[in-house]
């Protein structure tokens, strides 16, 4: 069993507390994605698990064993780096078999295992090449090959697809998912790309300022975010936020400011200072059914859908609405927009989500 457990793990670089008492457990065979904005500490957390950084406090367990003070090579982990970290002077074969050569395994055994890894990753034809002669995707496969050949307890991926172009990223994402399914190993994957997080993860760990904001399945995080940070971070395009007008009428949520405010009758949560609504939960309506009028600022036609950026007087920020591309909208046009009131999220002053009555 190769489960991973972090107990109150912390790390400080000088005066900066980078990781702040993180508690987390990943089950054997689980694909966990650490996601968060740049500088949130997700890569540092991964390096703490690998042993490339010493923990400032707390304990790390892999397969039930306390590995906190152990060298990286004794922890039974393998890491795939963003830069691929391939040795430029070695062939693909030598790169993949590097760890086994260090362990002084017999040549036949190394050859057999390299061939097996190459077969899984479909790079059998590239074994004699040097990294310089490979494309980005092929290099990443070699890097993954080097990690799977050691049969580690836990695979660690540090933004492995960031250097690839968009099309290749989608392809490699699929291959990593296939690899996980095939190996059934515990995988920890760090990314700032929440599409990768949503598509790959069994569970997502959202990290912000060295703390875990929320842990859950992708759909759970999308539908039931714990706070405003998670709501804004998970989902693309991001959730729309509108401040609640504190001086609005009773039994209704008044959004925006002054005469341009939006009144949501019969939809109120005590203590709410802002609401959040996803772009697909805003919809076009007739003048009678609409909750508010808005001006179409920009339309992004993505083929299967369109993203419409709306301006309304009560807010400085545009609202994003996801619509069908069939709607004949033009920039500058005034439209009427309706909220799907069941899907509105209410947040208090601290950004915590409020339960609806």
């Amino acid at each position: 069993m190769a489960d991973l457990r972090l107990e109150n793990v912390s790390k400080r670089f000088g005066d900066v507390q980078v990781i702040n008492g993180v508690d987390f457990a990943a089950k054997h065979g689980e694909f966990v994605v650490f996601v968060g904005p740049s500088g949130c500490g997700k890569s540092t957390l991964l390096r703490l698990i690998t042993g490339l950084e010493e923990t400032g406090g707390g304990r790390i367990f892999i397969g039930g064993a306390d590995v906190t003070g152990m060298k990286p090579s004794k922890r039974g982990v393998a890491m795939v780096f963003q830069s691929y970290a391939l040795f430029p002077h070695m062939t693909v074969e030598d790169n993949i078999g590097f760890g086994l050569r260090l362990a002084k395994l017999p040549k036949e055994e190394i050859g057999r295992r390299v061939a097996e890894a190459a077969r899984i990753l479909q790079i059998e034809d590239l074994l004699e090449r040097k990294p310089r002669q490979l494309s980005g995707g092929q290099r990443q496969r070699v890097a993954i090959g080097r990690s799977i050949i050691r049969d580690p307890k836990v695979f660690l991926f540090d933004e492995p697809l960031s250097n690839l172009d968009a099309a290749l990223r989608v392809q490699m994402r699929l291959e990593i998912a296939r690899l996980h399914k095939r190996l059934g190993a515990t995988m920890i994957y760090v990314t700032h790309d929440q599409t990768e997080a949503m598509t790959l993860a069994d569970r997502i760990v959202v990290i912000n300022r060295g703390r875990i904001e929320q842990v859950g399945s992708p759909i759970d995080l999308y539908d039931h975010p714990a706070n405003r940070f998670v709501s804004g971070f998970i989902g693309s395009p991001a959730m729309n936020f509108i401040d609640v007008n504190e001086h609005g009428p009773e039994n209704c949520t008044s959004l925006g400011a002054g005469s341009a405010s939006i009144e949501l009758d019969g939809c109120q949560v005590a203590g709410a200072t802002a609401i959040g609504i996803r772009p697909e939960h805003l919809e076009l309506a007739g003048p009678e059914e609409g909750d508010f009028p808005a001006t179409v600022e920009i339309i992004e036609k993505l083929g299967a859908e369109s993203l419409v950026y709306l301006q309304f007087d009560g807010s400085d920020l545009p609202l994003t609405m996801r619509t069908s591309p069939e709607h004949p909208l033009c920039a500058g046009e005034t439209v009427h927009v309706r909220f799907n009131k069941d899907r509105i999220h209410f947040f208090d002053r601290d950004g915590k989500i409020l339960n609806r009555p």
Partner: protein
């Protein structure tokens, strides 16, 4: 309404053309200066040497005769040339190996964040800032038989008075100069290797850590191969500097005793300026030039190969 006449250029186009002409003028002027210096101080002496190698000029008289290839024929039979050539090979091999290995060792030591690393770096680099004459004189003092540092230290360690004329014995003269040379050149190799070490990506070192490489495995399998571009530069500089190595030999031994530290450069000097056989000295210099040219060609070929692997 004013119009632009057909065939006339717009002011913007004319301005661009003037600027291009001005750039071309300054490019020519700025390039002409180094080309002139290079021609006067390198190309012209080189061609002159080649010319005089076919003469019996003594370096003073205006008159000389053309002797064909006889100076080159003399080289083949000249035992002192053979001795100098063997010494040059020994000198070059040692002058390449010692600074390269010592420089690499020191760079690895300093890069491992040894306490006082920056101070050691400055200390080891200092000799390269000194002229070969100064370095030669320092080491003449160190090797001085009666009160030199080396003999004094050996005497203190062994507990007996030790007096050995390092530079006056044929067995040790060349080796002693090589050590002085290595002392001066090691700092340069060290600095080049340190620059090479900083260019090794940190994540490659981390891969070694994760894969469980020992320090020696890391140096052997990763660092030394990745320092190949730096090694090519270090070796090239060592070769070029060792071929030019004349002044330190001149100061420390003058090629003696009994020609035991004579190199080709030293031999060429002795033939040209002590025996006044400028024609024969020129022939030796042409041979030396051809050797240097061959080595430089090999170097550039290697450089291209290294570039293909490491980009």
């Amino acid at each position: 309404m004013k119009g632009v006449r057909a065939g006339s250029r717009s002011p913007i186009f004319c301005g661009a053309r003037r600027m291009e002409q001005s750039n071309r003028f300054w490019r020519t002027v700025l390039l002409a200066a180094p080309v002139a210096v290079f021609t006067v101080f390198v190309i012209w002496p080189l061609l002159s040497s080649f010319h005089y190698s076919f003469t019996n000029w003594n370096g003073f008289n205006r008159e000389f005769d053309y002797v064909g290839f006889s100076n080159y024929a003399k080289i083949v039979t000249d035992k002192l040339f053979l001795n100098a050539a063997i010494n040059t090979v020994i000198w070059m091999v040692a002058a390449i190996l010692l600074p390269t290995l010592l420089g690499l060792g020191l760079a690895l030591l300093i890069d491992s964040r040894v306490p006082g690393g920056t101070m050691f770096k400055s200390i080891f680099y200092l000799p390269i800032c000194l002229s070969a004459v100064v370095v030669g004189q320092i080491w003449v003092w160190i090797y001085q038989p009666d009160w030199g540092l080396l003999n004094t230290v050996i005497g203190l360690v062994s507990g007996e008075e030790f007096r050995y004329p390092w530079l006056a014995k044929p067995d040790t003269a060349l080796g002693s100069v090589i050590i002085a040379w290595a002392w001066q050149q090691t700092g340069l190799s060290m600095v080049i290797y340190l620059a090479g070490l900083t260019s090794i990506p940190e994540d490659l070192i981390e891969v070694c850590e994760i894969e469980g490489a020992t320090a020696w495995q890391r140096i052997r399998m990763l660092i030394i191969p990745l320092l190949t571009p730096a090694t090519v530069v270090v070796i090239a500089l060592s070769v070029i500097n060792s071929l030019k190595g004349f002044d330190i030999l001149y100061i420390m031994t003058g090629g003696g005793p009994f020609h035991s530290s004579d190199t080709l450069a030293m031999h060429m000097y002795n033939e040209s300026f002590k025996k006044y056989l400028m024609g024969y000295g020129s022939a030796i210099s042409v041979v030396l030039f051809l050797i240097a040219l061959t080595i430089i060609r090999i170097y550039f070929r290697q450089l291209r190969r290294v570039d293909e692997i490491y980009g």
